[in-house]
Amino acid sequence: MQLDNLIIKFQQKDKAAFETLYTMYAENICGVINVIVKDAERSEELCQDVFVKIWEKSDQYDTSKGRFFTWILNIARNAAIDEVRSKTHKNQKKNLSVDSLVGIYENSEDLNGKMDTIGLQSLLKGLKDKCIKLIDLLYFKGYTQKEAAKELNAPVGTIKTRIRSCISTIRKNMA
């Protein structure tokens, strides 16, 4: 209920409400961007742009777009993916690799020494590579069920049940 009120106030351009929402979700949004962009400094800048965009677009949010977090997650993903595909970034020879989350998990490939890799690993403990890849595709890269199935060479019908069991493992790891 409290969240609903915050969102209503935010849509009425209440800056204090917006700041509360920022405090609630900034780390998550910046985290998603960081996994895609793989550059802490650039991610922070981009993250800021994304929140300005969220403020400007506040009237475009409605419940047919799902949870509020899901809506801002989508805006952040799109901005980060655009960034990686843009020319400025190509010069740095980084690409939108499919297995970024798997890489971080397995090699503790901490992009810039700023991530909580221990936390990440304890949440992903016991998950198969396939699971981590699927989480990466659906939550970090914004793939649809069908696109994810194609990428993983799996029948579309299995994606839903598989992501259910993957997220359940994370929930067990949290407990």
């Binding site: 800056k15 917006f18 700041e19 979700y25 780390e27 998550n28 949004i29 910046c30 985290g31 998603v32 960081n34 400094e41 991610s43 922070e44 993250c47 800021q48 929140f51 300005v52 403020w55 400007e56 475009q60 419940t63 047919s64 777009k65 799902g66 949870r67 977090f69 899901t70 809506w71 997650l73 989508n74 971080i104 700023k114 991530m115 909580d116 890799t117 936390g119 990440l120 949440l123 659906l138 939550y139 970090f140 914004g142 793939y143 649809t144 069920q145 029948p155 579309v156 019908g157 299995t158 994606i159 839903k160 049940t161 992501i163 259910r164 069991s165 997220i167 994370i170 929930r171 949290m174």
Partner: protein, 266 residues
């Protein structure tokens, strides 16, 4: 509606990921309002994703909101000086103000109508896309099923019913063995889901003397909706058996864990 089944389907995970169509989103919201269990489940899933994404965050400076605040304040320029400038205002200035306010209101109205229409078009496009996705998914599923039916109907296929054994008398399975193509399709719908760390292993058996040969595992059992598994079998099998083995399978079958067994008829 079966709430447990709805939750178990995994649709709520996709809802949080934001990969559902607008119609499906509305459906989920509708159920979430109706069934508190669904609302709680959505929040729990979101919590897991929040925990995960948070770990990837670059450590941010404490006052990171300040910059954003400065930027969003720029967006609404307001000049208070204009009100101070003149005390001597004539009717013509009022008229000017009134006209410009009227114009601004008009422009704003047109702008909002326009953006309303744009968002309606966008929604319709999204709906179309959603329906197209559903259609192509369904077509794909149909073609997979037709293909399967074709395989089962092949004249070279022998059907072997595998009955439940002492460990699990209610279990059953069927083997569709195509000797020509050395393939056997196992229909494992009648087997319970294996416990964590275990997997079903299928054995081809020679009866005299009893020699089991592994022909494969029923891998990813829980994820396989159809519960149909295709395995290679070039053996001269006289019977088929399915046992429960530790993950990865075993060299020889654990007979106490024999779930189903059936002999090949002549």
């Amino acid at each position: 509606m079966d709430v447990k089944e709805y939750i178990a389907s995994g649709i709520l995970e996709l809802y949080v990921a934001g990969t559902l169509s607008p119609e499906e989103n509305l459906e989920v919201q509708h159920y979430a309002l109706q069934y508190p269990e669904i609302q709680q489940e959505i929040e729990a899933i979101e919590k897991a994703i929040l925990a995960l994404t948070k770990t990837a965050s670059p450590k941010m400076p404490k006052n990171s909101f300040a910059k954003i605040k400065a930027e969003i304040e720029d967006v609404i320029p307001f000049t208070p000086e204009a009100t101070k400038r003149k005390d001597t205002s004539s009717w013509s200035t009022y008229l000017g103000w009134a006209a410009s306010i009227l114009l601004a209101v008009g422009l704003f109205w047109m702008y909002s109508e326009n953006s309303k229409l744009k968002s309606e078009i966008e929604l319709t496009n999204q709906e179309n896309q959603g329906l197209q996705n559903i259609l192509s998914d369904t077509q794909e599923e149909i073609s997979i099923k037709e293909n399967l039916l074709q395989q089962l109907r092949d004249k070279n296929v022998t059907v072997i019913a595998l009955g439940g054994q002492a460990v699990s008398p209610t279990s059953y399975a069927k083997a569709y063995w195509n000797k020509e193509e050395s393939k056997v399709i196992i229909d494992a719908q009648g087997l319970p889901e294996p416990p964590d760390g275990f997997t079903y292993q299928v054995w081809s058996l020679k009866l005299d003397p009893l020699t089991p040969t592994s022909i494969g595992l029923l891998a990813d059992f829980a994820a396989m909706d159809s519960k149909l598994f295709t395995l290679d079998n070039a053996n001269e099998s006289e019977a088929f058996g399915i046992t429960l083995e530790p993950e990865g399978g075993s060299e020889s079958p654990t007979l106490e864990q024999l779930y189903t067994l059936g002999a090949v008829g002549s």
